[in-house]
């Protein structure tokens, strides 16, 4: 075993340290019980081997108090772990409100990333240190999984659905990220690196060459070229609901029920408009399935978000 081997990768995000504390607590408890019980087995087996001289009078056949004791202790420990783990888990799965939002699209076998300003990169992720970063991820084809060991984050990236992941890098440096869900022949090559920079370096990296237009601007252009506005506008001629301010609101559906207009809802409204009809409207909207690609969708949704200035982050999805 070469010297550079460390049991866990370095702690490079705001949750890494607490994650490791929980992990090592659990390792401690398990080693204690695992070793303890295995030793007890060996001890009992040796002590009561056939022919040994020990007191065997009145061997126990069952004992209610013991049964309660050894169901109670593991239960209490398990529930203690549950509370700690659940708290950290909810933190790790609830992105802070003002996190900087990046888009990630996985496809066989690469990661495409787009920054809020529109800058794109492939298999590399530049982020400023000390900022809350939220990744909004989806896949073009099969299921992938975005895994940054040093940040202790991992999340499946699914087709037809947005999943989120957030982290706050605390140290500048380069870290690896991987695809952790088997996704076809070259799965093990679906690798990239995260470059954590000082905010100034990040800003100068952003401004360096090849800048694209921001996604919401591209989205606005798409909105116009697909003529969404012929229906989605104010007044009598508008046959669809007004989309300004929609993102993050509760939407009342025809036939009862409410949904929160989050990314997944917008996506579904564009690709499967017949699925959920807004109360008071007709099933008129054509589907844009096959016409808008994964990136186009991201951009359209970014546009719809940008015209909902006070739209809060949607509640967690069902």
């Amino acid at each position: 075993m070469s010297p550079e081997f460390a049991l866990m990768p370095e702690q490079a995000s705001s949750v890494s340290a607490e994650y490791d504390a929980l992990l090592f607590t659990e390792i401690g408890i398990s080693v204690f019980f695992g070793v303890g019980i295995c030793l007890a087995i060996m001890f009992l087996a040796w002590r009561y081997r056939a022919g040994s001289e020990v007191d065997r009078s009145d061997p126990p056949e069952g004992d209610m108090r013991l049964e309660l004791l050894w169901s109670g202790i593991p239960l209490v420990i398990a529930l203690g772990l549950f509370v700690w783990s659940a708290k950290l888990f909810i933190t790790m799965r609830t992105a802070p409100k003002n996190a900087m939002e990046l888009h990630v699209i996985g496809k066989q076998w690469m990661w495409k990333i787009q920054h809020p300003g529109g800058k794109r990169e492939i298999n590399e992720l530049h982020v400023p240190v000390g900022k809350d970063i939220k990744l909004v991820m989806s896949s073009e084809d099969v299921i992938h999984d975005f895994f940054i060991p040093a940040f202790r984050v991992k999340m499946d990236v699914l087709p037809g659905r947005y999943s989120m992941l957030w982290f706050k890098p605390i140290r500048e440096g380069t870290y690896r990220f991987f695809c952790a869900e088997y996704c076809g022949t070259s799965h093990s090559k679906m690798i990239g690196r995260v470059v954590v920079q000082s905010p100034a370096d990040y800003a100068s990296w952003l401004s360096g060459g090849g800048n694209n237009e921001p996604p919401e601007v591209a989205g606005k252009a798409l909105f116009e070229s697909f003529r969404c506005g012929t229906c989605h506008r104010e007044g009598l001629t508008g046959r669809g609901p007004v989309l300004d301010g929609l993102f993050g609101k509760q939407v009342r559906l025809a036939g009862g029920g409410m949904v929160v207009a989050d990314e997944n809802y917008l996506r579904e409204s564009i690709l499967d408009p017949g699925g959920k009809i807004v109360e008071g409207y007709q099933k008129l909207m054509p589907t844009y399935r096959g016409q808008i690609g994964e990136e186009g969708l991201m951009q359209l949704i970014a546009y719809l978000k940008s015209i909902a200035p006070d739209g809060k982050q949607p509640e967690e999805k069902r």
Binding site: M1, S2, F5, L7, Y19, L22, L23, S30, I37, I41, L44, A45, Y48, A50, R56, D58, P59, P60, E61, G62, L66, E67, W70, S71, P74, A78, L81, F82, S85, F89, I90, M92, T94, Q108, D141, V142, I143, R152, V153, K154, M155, L158, P159, G160, R161, S163, R176, F178, A180, Y182, G184, T185, H187, S188, L271, D272, G275, R289, E294, K317
Partner: protein, 591 residues
């Protein structure tokens, strides 16, 4: 209770079949069917083991030639005897599929369930002998399909034993998702049918055909275990059948149950796709497959609980607690499936709910462990081969159970999911648990089946080699898992951070070779002892349950006279008796 089950009166004995075909091939005798499952299961154990060794070879020496020119044999279509990259996922998929669906389930429920249930409850056969025969005969086609899938155009199934769509449903995304995957779906569907037929039969048999006096609380724990397992089989397997059929439709008939709108492969839109949900498949799959992991372990727990008292010469500790905890495991087993989907994008509050139920299931599991410990306490223990395997079972199950608790903590699972840590966990429970349980059972009941004992010496050699090599292969997987080695990767050397771990991969592979080779000792022991073994009488281990009252091997009709049961199953070292055990059939007058 069962005193009314007199339908098979004492005077009603069927004559054994005289013709070869009905005696050995299309037999309706539960003992012959059990042996058919045994031979099929064991043959597949060798096949699955070979897949595993090929995997291990690749992980230790990526894309290097296998010694002795064996590459030519295993990778016939490849150039230069090297494994083609597309074959690796196929090996992973087939290894797991074969081991779970074609080895452990058939060996535990097909072999031990069939052989032991009627004998242990004092019945002449299963309730539905023909259904029993059918449950075996759907296996050979399934077996042929899964084996031939390795050779078809495009390669065998390669989306993992979990076969998540869209990967498994779209040949565009992976060549192995063509004919190979179709065969996988059909084969798993057929195995599921076999499992359902078996489960229905075992349930009916245990409920209706118990001998007079065999009340529920006099049933050996193995029968309890098989009863509870059958409930799981009957309730959960139909969901697996549904999932595989829907996947088959998506793959071949253009439906879109699991394919969401907007899927495109390589920029090409998949027009068929729309409205489906890939998570639906995961829910269906795990709704079956979590209970299925208990199908894999409960019968082994039952076997071990039966065997230990015999070698400890003491009743099992906490008989009722054992039966209740198995029922609790099975019941809770239906509400924990979401723990396989913590990272799949399900709502964090839902994940937390699944975490509670999963943590709670650790309680009945630990109750079982402590009761086995209590059984040892105050006993007089002989370390015969079956007993050694039982002790291995208990200690390996502890390690596997503890690592399960890590994974059950949603937060911990974020890092460990999809790494070798999970691989270590499943092998501690399934190999360390179920397989050692199966070994214990084979060594223990072999004398009953053949009338001869297996060699103790070679049994112990086999045990110690397997035990040491097993831990050598799988314990380091916890460490490389925490060190960040992901599962289902064909070549760990492409990952920089895994470079320090590569030596471990080589050691694990060496132990794996030892583990594989030591199984030949077992096979030879079984084969030679069947003919040359020391003949034994009815009850070589001086055990107490019903099967030891009939001849070894038992006659076609099991019992000439249906036995009458007077005693609980594990009456050893009863004070004031001249022998140290009391058969279940010994009437109170005779004591």
């Amino acid at each position: 209770m069962s005193t009314d089950s007199h339908s098979h009166g004492d005077d009603h004995i069927h004559p054994p079949p005289s013709n070869f075909l009905t005696k050995y091939v299309f037999s309706i005798d539960h003992k012959v069917i059990a042996l058919q499952f045994f031979f099929a299961g064991f043959a597949m154990f060798i096949v699955g083991g070979l897949f595993a060794l090929l995997l291990r070879w690749q992980l230790a020496f990526p894309f290097q030639e296998i010694p002795l020119g064996l590459g030519k044999f295993f990778y016939p279509n490849a150039s230069g005897n090297l494994m083609p990259p597309e074959t690796y996922p196929t090996l992973v998929t087939l290894h797991a599929t074969v081991m779970i669906f074609f080895v452990i389930i058939p060996l535990l429920t097909g072999t031990f369930g069939n052989y032991l249930i009627p004998l242990k409850i004092g019945a002449r056969d299963m309730a539905f002998p023909t259904l029993n025969m059918l449950s075996y005969w759907v296996m050979p086609p399934a077996l042929l399909m899964i084996l031939s899938s390795y050779f078809v155009q495009g390669g065998g199934p390669g989306a993992g034993w979990t076969s998540y769509p869209p990967l498994s449903a779209l040949p565009q995304a992976s060549t192995s998702s063509g004919t190979g995957q179709t065969l996988w779906c059909l084969a798993v569907f057929l195995v599921g049918c076999s499992s359902i037929m078996g489960g229905v039969n075992y349930l009916t048999t245990i409920i209706n055909l118990r001998a007079p006096g065999m009340t529920l609380v006099r049933m050996p724990l193995s029968v309890w275990a098989l009863f509870i397992t059958s409930v799981l089989q009957v309730l959960a397997t139909p969901v697996l059948a549904a999932a595989t059929i829907l996947l088959l439709f998506d793959k071949n008939l253009g439906t879109s149950f699991f394919l969401p709108t907007g899927v495109a492969v390589g920029g090409q839109a998949i027009t068929q796709a729309g409205g489906g949900n890939p998570l639906l498949f995961q829910h269906l799959f795990w709704f079956y497959s979590h209970p299925a992991v208990y199908i894999l372990i409960l019968p082994a727990m039952g076997l071990v609980s039966d065997i230990m008292p015999t070698f400890v010469r003491k009743p099992i500790f906490g008989y009722k607690a054992m039966a209740y905890s198995m029922s609790a495991i099975a019941g809770l087993g239906f509400i924990v499936w979401g723990h396989h989907m913590f990272q799949a994008g399900i709502n964090p509050y839902m994940a937390t709910t699944f975490m509670v139920s999963t943590m709670v299931i650790a309680t009945p599991s630990s109750v079982k462990v402590f009761n086995w410990l209590g059984t040892l306490w105050g006993g007089s223990i002989t370390f015969a081969t079956p007993m050694l395997n039982c002790l291995a079972f208990v200690s390996m199950f502890i390690i596997g159970g503890l690592s399960g608790v890590f994974l059950a903590a949603t937060t911990i699972d974020i890092f460990l999911h999809d790494t070798y840590y999970v691989v270590a966990h499943i092998h501690y429970v399934v190999f360390g648990g179920s397989v050692f349980g199966i070994f214990a059972g084979v060594y223990y009941w072999f004398p009953k089946v053949t009338g001869r004992k297996m060699s103790e010496f070679w049994g112990k050699v086999h045990f110690w080699m397997s035990f040491v090599a097993f831990n050598g292969v799988f314990f380091p997987m916890h460490i490389v898992g925490i060190g960040g080695m992901m599962r289902r990767i064909a070549d760990p050397t492409v990952y920089q951070h895994l470079a320090p771990l590569q030596d471990w991969n080589v050691y694990m592979t060496m132990f794996a070779v030892v583990l594989g080779l030591s199984q030949f000792i077992f096979i030879a022991n079984v084969a030679i002892s069947a003919f040359r073994g020391e003949p034994c009488g009815k009850n070589p281990w001086e055990a107490t349950t019903l099967e030891w009252t009939t001849t070894s091997p038992p006659p076609y009709y099991n019992y000439e006279k249906i036995p009458v049961v007077y005693n609980p199953p594990y009456e050893f070292s009863v004070p004031g008796m001249e022998k140290d055990y009391l058969m279940q059939t010994t009437p109170p007058e005779a004591v």
